[in-house]
Each structure stands twice: as structure tokens, then as C-alpha cells.
Symmetry: C2
């Protein structure tokens, strides 16, 4: 009898792996939700930073890709993606020049919340001779970026509409303060309240005679409410495709596709095991990574290069050299630590993808 293949034996550690069946099921599940809605999906690239995953999302039916930074947009353009939203403000001469260089190769849209920045973008886009799309970002409760809903947004939209090189495309509003809230309770009500600020602003634009074609926002944690809301034209969900231990509590309808393979390197005590993945391979701002497929293993702490785990039962039988899987607590920042991810199916490695936009925060 042929032994069942074990992909872990093919991979040196620490390393990220993706279960390709689960990834594909997650992408299909989210797309099928949007196939029944007015809004479409514009998956966020900041999570996986991996062009082959973005291409799968587009093939499934997503209308374009969202990203966080110009550096990520450069990678997407290089990978042939033709419709890109940079869902943040792009500030500073060097960065705006880099943005302008992308305009002839893709449809690019950017968020703004300040008139001076709009003028800078306008000058660069006009010089580039290709239009830059603009969404006016509205602060719908997160208190980080965005203008006030209503009048202030209308004024900035008018400023955009008057500026050469720019195309006013609509609004962005991100309920980032709600995406991680567990389902149930007042989550839907609070999400609807936040979205009502976008409804109000779309109304004000309409009364001012300014056409608002797009309203972009939302995330994996609110897609059921925001994605079904008539005001939204697109949802910027990212985590759903690969998931992580934190989102498992928020959107359990998606399976976990992302793991870190860890080798046990020491067993200093009966109830302690040390793994070889530390803070340089995993992140902890959303809590500790979770053991997968083995009982009695609890990550207690990460050192720079070591995983400190409390073990009992099955976990206590681990010996140095054994490899186990951990589910990262936060996929977005974990992908950002790794240069590559292995795609596995039926117990063996099927592909190796470069995380091409890793570290492209600039």
C-alpha cells in the first residue's frame, strides 16, 4: 500500500502553506454570495499579497482588486491586473509620481480626504495624460481617515470634479471599527448605522448634481450586511480567501486555508515544547496562533525565533523533528513576514507562490 503523502516532509520550516481546496472553496463561496447582489466583490490584496490568488479571485468573477499601498499596486500592474483601487490616501511627491506612472497600464482609483492632496494628484495625472479615478473617503465611524459625511464630502467631490486629470468616481467608507466584532448582538445595527452615513452623502451629492457611480467599502467581517446594502457598489473583503484564527470567530462559514508549518526543536520539560517559528514568522496582535490537527498544544508565547508551547495528551508525545501546523491569528501581517507560500492538495505540494507584494508598504 502506498503511504499517504505528507506535504510537511517536503517543506523546510517555518513555512506558510495554503490548502488549495479550501482556498478555492472560499473564493467560490464569497463570489456566489455577490452573484446575488447589486454590489460586487473587489478583493483586498493586502491580505495575501500574492498575484496568483488575486488572479483566481478575478477569474471567479471579482470586478477588480483593492490594495493598500502604491507598492502593492505596482506589483498588481506588473502581474497584469487591469482594475485597481488603492483604498488609502496617496500622499507625497515621490509616491504620487509612482502612482502616475501606473495610469497608462491600468484603471487606477485612489481615496482622498483633503483638497491639497487632490491638487497634487491632479497635477501628476494631468501630466501623465491618463485619468486617475478618485473616491472621496468618508469617515463612517473609525476616526482615522476620511472627511465628514454630507456637506464636507460634497465640497471635496466638487473639488475633484473640477480638477484636470481626475475622474470623480464616488465614495469610500470603511467600517473598520466593526469588522472584527463577533456576529449577532448589535453588529448589524451598528453596521447599518455606519452605512447610513454613506446613504446620506450619496443623497447630498445627488442634490448637488454630482453623479456618484461607485461606493466602495466593507470587509470580510461585515460582507453579509454591507454586501447586501443597496448603497454599496463593491466590497473590499480580503481575509475570507485564506482566513485566520481571528476571523474564524467572525465568519466561520469560510474554512481555514492558511497554516504555518513548525518543527519541534526542543522539549525542555514534560509539558513544554519549543517550535522553530517565532515573531519573525508569526504575529500576535490578534492573539496567539492556534494548533491545528493535534490535541493538547497551546501556544503560550513567541520569542524571536521560537514558539513556546504548553503540551499535554497527544501534544506531550511530540519529539524534536516532528512538524505541526499552526493557524496564524492574523493572516494579513503573517503573509507580510514570508517571501513564499506553498500550495498543497491531497497531501502534497502542488505549487510554490511568491508573496510578491510582501514588504511593499511604501
Amino acid at each position: 500500500m502506498k503511504p499517504r503523502p505528507d506535504f510537511k516532509s517536503e517543506i523546510d520550516t517555518p513555512a506558510l502553506v495554503i490548502d488549495l481546496d479550501v482556498l478555492e472553496a472560499n473564493i467560490a463561496r464569497m463570489q456566489s454570495f455577490f452573484d446575488g447582489q447589486t454590489a460586487n466583490l473587489r478583493p483586498h490584496f493586502k491580505t495575501h499579497k500574492c498575484p496568483p490568488i488575486a488572479r483566481r479571485q478575478l477569474r471567479a468573477g471579482a470586478k477588480g482588486i483593492t490594495c493598500a499601498k502604491v507598492g502593492e499596486a505596482e506589483v498588481l500592474v506588473q502581474a497584469g491586473v487591469k482594475d485597481i483601487l488603492i483604498a488609502n490616501q496617496v500622499v507625497g511627491g515621490l509616491k504620487i509620481r509612482r502612482l502616475a506612472r501606473l495610469l497608462r497600464r491600468a484603471r487606477v482609483t485612489v481615496a482622498v480626504d483633503e483638497a491639497r492632496n487632490v491638487k497634487d494628484l491632479s497635477a501628476a495625472a494631468a501630466a501623465a495624460g491618463a485619468p486617475l479615478g478618485v473616491l472621496v473617503e468618508v469617515d463612517i465611524g473609525m476616526g482615522r481617515c476620511g472627511v465628514k459625511p454630507g456637506k464636507e464630502a460634497v465640497e471635496l467631490a466638487r473639488c475633484v470634479a473640477r480638477c484636470p486629470g481626475l475622474e470623480f468616481r464616488g465614495l469610500q467608507g470603511y467600517e473598520g471599527h466593526l469588522v472584527l466584532q463577533a456576529p449577532g448582538g448589535d453588529k448589524d445595527r451598528l453596521t447599518l448605522e455606519a452605512l447610513s452615513l454613506l446613504v446620506k452623502t450619496v443623497g447630498a451629492l445627488c442634490r448637488a448634481g454630482i453623479e456618484c457611480k461607485e461606493v466602495s467599502g466593507g470587509g470580510t467581517g461585515t460582507y453579509r450586511t454591507s454586501g447586501a446594502h443597496p448603497v454599496m457598489s463593491e466590497i473590499q473583503a480580503g481575509s475570507y480567501a485564506t482566513m485566520d484564527a481571528r476571523y474564524a470567530k467572525v465568519t466561520p462559514e469560510f474554512g481555514n486555508a492558511l497554516f504555518c508549518v513548525v518543527t519541534i526543536v526542543n522539549r525542555p520539560k514534560k509539558n513544554v515544547a519549543i517550535g522553530d517559528a517565532g515573531m519573525k514568522s508569526l504575529t500576535t496582535e490578534f492573539g496567539m496562533p492556534q494548533a491545528w490537527g493535534i490535541r493538547g498544544v497551546k501556544v503560550e508565547r513567541l520569542a524571536e525565533e521560537h514558539t513556546l508551547m504548553r503540551v499535554r495528551g497527544e501534544g506531550a508525545r511530540l519529539v524534536p523533528g516532528d512538524k505541526i501546523l499552526l493557524v496564524p491569528s492574523h493572516g494579513c501581517t503573517t503573509f507580510n513576514l514570508h517571501d513564499r507560500v506553498y500550495g498543497v492538495r491531497d497531501g502534497s505540494v502542488e505549487c510554490r507562490w511568491r508573496i510578491a507584494a510582501r514588504g511593499r508598504a511604501e
Copy 2:
């Protein structure tokens, strides 16, 4: 009059920069301490992961380089470094094979704390036909890796000495639980107590007729005590060269050479400024990054791509587009987020170094 150059205008953000004058002064200061001691310096590469800095440390007089992982050792060998200590256990077939491939190109030493691992290393080194140096790691209080001082260490040393392909070179003991303790108080006493476990083990090896040529350990936070101790032959200090906000409280005799350049992207409130460096560019396990060269700026929190800062006074005059410097709280994990670092001198960029071992945790 020629305007004073400002390196910040040459660099898109977020980006790491090193003040080259301060870096060189730190390297010279640490080396001059060791020039008066029995022990020498084996700087730890895991901090900066940057071959050009390692070469400067070697030119100043360091005896070799310490690193944490085989992936880092591969980068060092590629960069021409000839004497490398991997100060951790190297566990697992794939990794040991990679280690063995380095033996013909450099003098490599590795830490061990388990007989089965010693056998695996022996088989690979014997097959490679070039010796692998081995230090038996002794747990001197951190409780993570290492055998017990005394008898247990002697037994493992004897096992190493009997194994073909391996050269027993001595001991490793790292007082990692003490390196971040502020100077004064019981720090020196506790450090000496930890080192006394190495003294005891060297004595036991001597009585067993096993020659112990090297005793490696220590760090930036304990170098004054461990580097002056007669039992130590080399100190694995890393942070001193570039420093960070955490080590500034431990070893203020070294200047801060490492900064992250951040652009202000939003001013949502009178007392709040938002920068463009988040958790993908800075780390927080040792606290928040600290503003440098400007008063009235306090980092309160990092989002994935944003710095949330409380501002007043001089800080309250910041406008979008302004660039400021932050001192990372933990250099080692911050370098690991960036692909390059800019070297600056006299207000302009002098060089751009690739952080070649970034992400090489495997």
C-alpha cells in the same frame, strides 16, 4: 547659500534609515571594549540581517559572526563570511542537509542540546567530508533550550566528541532572561550567577578530560559583565550596532542609528496625526516606536498600514506630506519587515543596503 540637504526628501516612505556615523561609532565602541578583554566579539546577524554591516563589524576586529538560522548562515556564506556560529539547534533532515552544504565554504559551528540531533548532524557532516563545529548549549536560566549544567552537559559533550564529522568546540550559554533588565539593581549579580553555571560546567569538562576551547553567549544587554568574565571566549551581541528604543534604556552608551521615516497622511483632529507606517513596517512587542527630533509626538497605536499619533506643540504643526523619524522599539523584528535600509550621512543618502537575510527564518 546652499540649503542643508534633507535625506528624507530622497526616500519614499515608510522606509528604514541608518545614521552611518552613529553605526560606525557604535561598532568601534563595542570593539574597543573587547580589545581589552579575553573574550572577543561575535556580533549577532539576526538583528540587522545585512551583510555590509557584518563586514564592517568583522573589519573592526570581530572574530566571526553569530546567526540564528541556517537561512541566515546561507546568506553569510554567500557574502563571503568565513566563520559562522548558528546559535540555535538545527533540527530536521532538510535543514541539516542545507547546513552540511555550507561546511566546505566556511567554518561553521552549531549549538546542540540532544543526543539524537547530534547523531543526525554527525551523519550529515561525515558525508559532507568537512567538520562541523559543535557547542553544547547549557540552560543558564532562560528555560528554553540547553541541557542542565554539569554532568548532563559533559555526557552530551562526550557524545559529540565520539561522533564522526563533528568537532566539540565548547559551550554555549545565553542569559536571555537578563539582557533586557535595566542596569543597576541585582542585574550584575544575577548575570554572574548565570555565568557561574558555565564555570561549573567547564570545570566538569576539564575533570572529564574534555577540552573546552570556546564558551559563547551574552548579548548587548549584558556585555559589560559577560564580556569581562574570564569564562567567556566570545559574546553574541547584536543590538548595539544599530540600537532601538528598548535598548536605549539598557545600554545608553550606544547611540541610536536606526530610524523609520514616516509620512504624515492625515490630521483627522487637532491633536491626532496619522502616519503611513503600520504593523507591516514597525513592531510593538517591546512597546511603541518613539518620535525623534520633534517634540509633542507620541505614537499611541499601529494599525496595519497607519501610525496613530497623539500630537501637541511642535507635533501639532505637522501637515500631510511632512516626514518625521520614529525610533523602532525593537530593531531585530523591525529589520525583518524591510527589504532594504538607506545609509545616511551629512543629511543625504550615501548608500542603499539590501537586508539580504530578511525573512530567512527557515
